[in-house]
Structure formats: structure tokens, C-alpha cells
Amino acid sequence: MQPIVRAQDITKAFDTTPIVKGVSFQIGTGDLAAIIGPAGCGKSTLLRCLNGLEPLDSGSIEIFGVKMAREPGAPAPTKETARQLRQNVGMVLQGNNLFPHKTLLQNVMMAPMVVRNAPRDEAAAIAERVLEKVGLAGEMDRYPIDLSGGQQQRGAIARALALAPKVMLYDAPTAALEQALVDEVLDVMKGLGGEGLTQIVVTDEIGFAREACDRTLYMEDGEIVEVLVKDEGAGGPKDPRTQTFLGRFA
């Protein structure tokens, strides 16, 4: 495996409650990885630490050669460090958070124009390309409120893709969707995986994790219990906690 994401001993507490308790893992280039686990196990917090959205308490994260580290008790990494890290990391947050005052096209064009100073037509070309990729070429001029939940999530993916990230993070991208709309979002992610994009998704879609993901990190109580690797032939989870959790979805 050629790791593109290396996480080492990450800890994160809110006030005095530890949420992530010293987590280490690596994700290889082009992998589609899932983080699963029961509610409150710290999987969302871990994901939000990966791009510096939540400042980690200690540990180190290296993504595509950019490293952000913090010794226990040392001052938090600077906003500038987080911004450098994020240059290669796109993220789709939980819930619907397209910018409601902009059309879908304008939503996707904004980041290239604001963050990369791209000229308007260049940004528009990028936006049209990524919107086509997520299957929304026909909806570009609509406002988010006039889109379905699945379309909104695909729009949010396109918005992140417009900055050409090396790694994509998804925080429960299908959580708020009715079952009928879930697949159109997951299909987009599979398609992107086929193009070689590295993706990490926090999800409750166990079937998707099992079937489509190269590796699945099972978390419980702030720790990674087990990493399940697809097609390794070792035959399913070994840890009894993982077995119990997955047993519920069998």
C-alpha cells in the first residue's frame, strides 16, 4: 500500500470528555475507506480532525505530504497549517449545507474563484465539468432549495471536487436521505473511486462499506477496534465487538 493519509496517535476531547483516544491508521492512494461504528463512537470527530476542522489535541496527521502535528499540551496548529493541509483535502459535511443564496453552478464556482482566484469562465468550466461528473449537468441553474436531497448531496460533492482534492472526506453523506436517494450518492462515490480518488467516508451504510470499500475502520468508544480489508480472504471480523456490531446488520 502506498499511504496517502497517515494518522498517528490522534486524541481529541471536548472539554474533559475524551472522544478520540489515540487513533492511528493509514489509507492508501486511491482507496475508498469507510469508518463505521455505533453512534457516539467518535467517528465524525475523527474525520473532522483529519482536515483540521476540529483542532486535534495531540498526535499527527499527514495527508499528501503535508503534516500537521501537536504534542500533548502544546499550542494548537496554526490556521495556516490547517489551510495548507486542506489544499489537498475536500470534505462533504453532515447535512445539507449548499449555499442557499447561490445557484448550484454558483455554489461550485465559488471556491475556485475565492480561494484560487480563478477567473470566472475558468471557474465555470471547472464547475460544469464536476457537475457533469456527479450527474447534475441539467440542474446547474437551480437554487439548492429546489433540488432533491440526493441532488443536494451530489452538489456538495461537486462543490468540494471543484478544488481538485487528492483526498475526499464524507461525514455521513447519506444519513439524512430516504433510502431511494441513497444509492445515487453512493454510486457517485464509487465512480470517483474508479477514477483513483482517495476517499474516506463516515457512514452507517454497512452494506456499502462491506461491498464497495477497500478498507473499513471499525470504531468503538474512541478507538479503532479493527480494520477490515476487502478481498484479503481472512474471512470477516475477528474481534467480538466488531462481530456484535456487524451482526446487527446481517
Binding site: 476542522l53 459535511l93 443564496h101 471556491a111 475565492v114 480561494v115 437554487y143 429546489d146 478544488l163
Partner: protein, 526 residues
């Protein structure tokens, strides 16, 4: 009061030289004659442009808009300044200011000299200004409703309710009689209106005011003997232009001697026996009372057509007032928006210390009446060395005051934006400032716009409070025109309609904002 003026005159004598101080003894009526020996002051250092402050809303005959042509400012004091200023080597420029702010205007150096005699009493002005020698001596005239029983004099006013002008010399004389129930007013128009309504039994006003504003009125009549002895002088700020003070006195004296003052007073039909005594001039009338006749002719009620013509005639003035009002209001809106946005962003994103400071400003400012803010900024700040142009002061006062309201609107808008909008921008690697500018504020603006447009409507209305500054906006123009024609009714309706029309675009903006700026905020029909 006489002793105060005398004191000032002694001071004047002191400035002019020891020999003249004796000559200016008030007990001698012939002080004018003796003053002639005073040395000529150097007039070269007197300002080339001599600005004099007066209140044209105070009405005829002092300084007022010519009823026949309201774009012209005319009056007894205008004529006197026209004669006086060249003798001082300067060109006279009239500066409009509210009568009760005339002395304050001297302090802020809005003008060198202050006129509009009835408003200027040494009592109100004593510590900061000097007075010239008097240029006019007159008396208080009792005016009653036509047909009411005659009143002999001051004694006859016992137990009666008597109206007069606020802060005038007459008011001071009357207040010394404890039996008189005194009511004071801002303008002579109001005094006579209340007299006709029966709110007061009689009025005593300066003889010139009675001649111009009561004598032509069929419903009123003069009665009784002259009351008191009133002198008009010109005020100037103590300490500035010391050479102007001497030159001014010399010029007034010269005008009283060479007959030019007499001719002006005759043209205005205001020569008094007291003046005759004062300057020892027993000659008959020296000029036709042309200015008086012109005024009476131009201001008496006429046909419907001429009424309409009159309204048309003062339209240019109204237009200038509207432009001023718009200027003040629009600039104040911009100021209020910018400052309000800064305050709101500081409150929401500025951290505890700055946030609390912003909150203190908002809460404090919302509790202070706008009029206080206006007066404080223009007349109060010069005390600490900050002297502002009236326009700037008006814009600032309205802007600072409305910024507090704007800040609350904008804050409500900012808080209505879900937190994850900021996060969504951050994960797109925008800085917080970029996120505010591109994501948060544009959304907040759509929420904020409708209440803001409504705020603007009240700002335009509140801009009328700026009329207390020397700034000829619409309300001030209304006051001036109303006084000129003694017509608060027609002009009032007209001005009210104009305010309404000015605010209409903002009412429309509020409606538009609710519909169009709400794009993306509500579902459109598929």
C-alpha cells in the same frame, strides 16, 4: 440689561482707548457724538468676507425671505449689514442659523457677527461674546385682538396672560412683573396665532415685529404706551478679531451720523422717538417707507391664482431643501450601514471584549434621543476641539444613531444563518473573512434588507431633526416659508407630501427585498 450693555460698552471703550471710555458713559445720550474722536482702527486685518448669522425663520422685518421673491433674503438687518460691511472692508454674507443657536454659532465660528436682534440678549450670551454699540433703540408694543378693551401699559397687563418671544429682551422685562402670566414662543407667528385663538390675552413684542406681523393683520390692533427700552446690537465672539470690534463700533456710529441709518429705518418705517433722541435727529422722514409697503403689499392675502403663483415661486427653495434632505439622509444611511455591519460582526464574531464593547454602544445609542446626539455633535464637540461642518455633523449624528438600529438588524440576520454555512466555507479552504464576505453576509443581507428599508424610511423622517443645525433642509425650509407667508397650513401639506414621496422608494425597496432578494430562500413553482 441696560447695565450689562453699558458694561460691555465700557469694555469697548477700553479697547478703543482711555478717552473714549468716558465718552461711552451710558448716562450721556450724546455718546455717539463724542465717539467720533476715536482713532480709526486698522481695518486691513478685518476678514474680507464678513459672515453674519441670523435666523430668517424669525420673520419680518429683521431677516426674511421676500414674499414676492422667496429666493431673496431681505430685511432691516440685511440692509444694515449691506451698509456696514463695506465700511469694515468686507463683503457681507448671510449665514442661516436657528435663533436660539445664534450665539453658539459664534462660538463655532460659523460666522463673525450675529444679528436678529430680538433673539440676542446679553444675558444669554454674556461670557463668550462682546456686543457692539447699539444701532437701534426701540420699545415693546402691546398688541391685542381688535375690539378687546384697551390696555394702558405695563400696569394694565396685571393678571393677564401675555405672550412674547422666548429669550427676548421683552420677556425679561415682563418677567420682572410677578403679576403677569408670561407665555413665551419660538416665533412671532406662533405668538399672534395664540392671541387670535384666545389662548393669551395680549402680547408684547418688539415694536418692529408688531409693525410687520400685527399691524397688517385686520384681527389685531396696537394699544397702550411703549413698554421698556430695547436696544439692538451686534454680537461677536470675544477674543477673535479684536480689531473688528473697534471698527464695527466706529462704523455703526458713522452710519448713525451720516444719515444712512436713518434712511434705512425710514424705508422700513421703524424710526422711533427714542432713536430721534439718541442720535439727536429731529428731522422729518428722510425716505419713503418703501420696504414696508413692499412687504405689506406682497404678503397680504390675494386671489387664488396669486396664491398658486406664490407656491410656484417658492418651489426652487423647496427643491433645494429636498436635495439637502436627501443628501443628509443618503449619506447617513451609508454611514449607518457600514458602522452597523461592523458593530454586528464584532458582536457575533468579535470575541468577548470587543463584543461587549459593541453591545454597549448599541444599547447606549438606542437610549439616547437623536436630537441630543445632533446638538451634542455640532455644538458640544467644539468644546473638546472637534468642530464639524453642519452637513458632516448631521450625517454623523443620524449615522451614529441609526447604526445602533442597523447593528441589531444585521445581527439578527447573521444569527439566522446556520453555523454549518461557515463550516462549509471553511472546508472549502476559505478564510473566515472570505466566508463572511461571500457566504454569511450575502445571506444575512437578504434577511436584513426588508427591515433595513423600513429603517431608512424612519431615517428620512428623523432627518428633519437636523433642522436645528445651520442646514437648510426640507423642514427648515418649511419653517422659513411658513414664517414668510404666515402659512403653516398649505406649505405644511406640501412638505408632508414631499416627505412621503421621498420615502416611497424605500417602502417599495422593502417590498422588493421581500420578494426578489428571497431567491433561494423559498421554493419556486416547478
Amino acid at each position: 440689561m441696560r447695565s450689562v450693555i453699558a458694561g460691555l460698552l465700557v469694555l469697548a471703550g477700553f479697547l478703543g482707548g482711555a478717552d473714549t471710555a468716558r465718552a461711552l458713559d451710558w448716562s450721556s445720550f450724546s455718546f455717539f457724538a463724542t465717539r467720533a474722536q476715536a482713532p480709526d482702527p486698522a481695518i486691513t486685518t478685518v476678514p474680507r468676507i464678513l459672515r453674519y448669522g441670523g435666523d430668517s425663520a424669525a420673520g419680518a422685518p429683521f431677516i426674511f425671505k421676500d414674499p414676492a421673491n422667496p429666493s431673496r433674503t431681505v430685511g432691516l438687518e440685511v440692509d444694515i449689514m449691506a451698509q456696514l460691511a463695506p465700511r469694515l472692508g468686507g463683503m457681507p454674507i448671510f449665514v442661516q442659523n436657528r435663533f436660539d443657536m445664534l450665539i453658539a454659532g459664534l462660538g463655532t465660528e460659523l460666522y463673525e457677527l450675529a444679528v436678529t436682534a430680538p433673539a440676542i440678549t446679553p444675558d444669554t450670551a454674556a461670557p463668550t461674546v462682546n456686543f457692539s454699540i447699539p444701532y437701534y433703540t426701540t420699545f415693546g408694543q402691546i398688541v391685542i385682538r381688535r375690539g378687546d378693551p384697551a390696555i394702558a401699559g405695563l400696569k394694565g397687563l396685571k393678571d393677564k396672560t401675555v405672550g412674547t418671544l422666548k429669550a427676548s429682551q421683552i420677556a425679561e422685562i415682563l418677567s420682572r412683573s410677578p403679576d403677569i402670566v408670561l407665555k413665551t414662543y419660538d416665533t412671532a407667528t406662533e405668538v399672534f396665532a395664540d392671541l387670535k385663538r384666545g389662548e393669551i390675552d395680549a402680547t408684547v413684542v418688539d415694536f418692529p415685529i408688531a409693525v410687520y406681523q400685527a399691524r397688517p393683520d385686520r384681527a389685531l390692533q396696537f394699544t397702550g404706551d411703549p413698554i421698556g427700552r430695547i436696544q439692538y446690537a451686534i454680537a461677536l465672539k470675544r477674543g477673535t478679531h479684536p480689531e473688528l470690534y473697534g471698527a464695527l463700533n466706529t462704523a455703526i456710529y458713522a452710519m448713525s451720523q451720516d444719515g444712512s441709518l436713518r434712511r434705512i429705518l425710514d424705508r422700513w418705517a421703524l424710526w422711533t422717538p427714542m432713536m430721534a433722541q439718541e442720535v439727536d435727529d429731529k428731522r422729518p422722514m428722510q425716505a419713503e417707507p418703501s420696504a414696508y409697503e413692499h412687504y405689506v403689499e406682497a404678503s397680504t392675502p390675494r386671489t387664488f391664482v396669486s396664491e398658486v403663483e406664490r407656491y410656484v415661486r417658492f418651489l426652487p427653495q423647496i427643491v433645494r431643501g429636498v436635495i439637502r434632505t436627501l443628501e443628509v439622509s443618503l449619506l447617513a444611511m451609508v454611514a449607518a450601514m457600514v458602522l452597523g455591519a461592523v458593530l454586528a460582526v464584532t458582536r457575533v464574531y468579535g470575541g468577548p471584549v470587543l463584543g461587549r464593547a459593541a453591545r454597549a454602544y448599541v444599547d447606549g445609542m438606542r437610549g439616547i434621543p437623536l436630537l441630543i446626539v445632533v446638538l451634542f455633535i455640532y455644538y458640544g464637540l467644539p468644546t473638546v476641539g472637534l468642530q464639524l461642518d453642519p452637513l458632516v455633523a448631521g450625517v454623523l449624528a443620524l449615522g451614529l444613531s441609526y447604526a445602533a438600529w442597523m447593528a441589531e438588524n444585521i445581527r439578527a440576520g447573521l444569527r439566522a444563518i446556520p453555523r454549518d454555512q461557515m463550516e462549509a466555507a471553511i472546508v472549502l479552504n476559505m478564510t473566515e473573512f472570505q466566508a463572511l464576505r461571500n457566504v454569511i453576509l450575502p445571506q444575512a443581507a437578504r434577511i436584513v434588507l426588508p427591515p433595513t428599508a423600513r429603517n431608512f424610511v424612519s431615517l428620512i423622517k428623523d432627518s428633519s431633526l437636523v433642522s436645528v443645525l445651520p442646514l437648510l433642509e426640507l423642514t427648515k425650509t418649511y419653517q422659513q416659508i411658513s414664517v414668510t407667508y404666515s402659512d403653516y397650513f398649505g406649505t405644511g401639506l406640501l412638505v408632508a407630501a414631499i416627505y412621503l414621496v421621498i420615502s416611497l422608494p424605500f417602502v417599495r425597496l422593502a417590498k422588493w427585498a421581500e420578494i426578489y432578494a428571497g431567491r433561494g430562500m423559498s421554493r419556486v413553482a416547478p
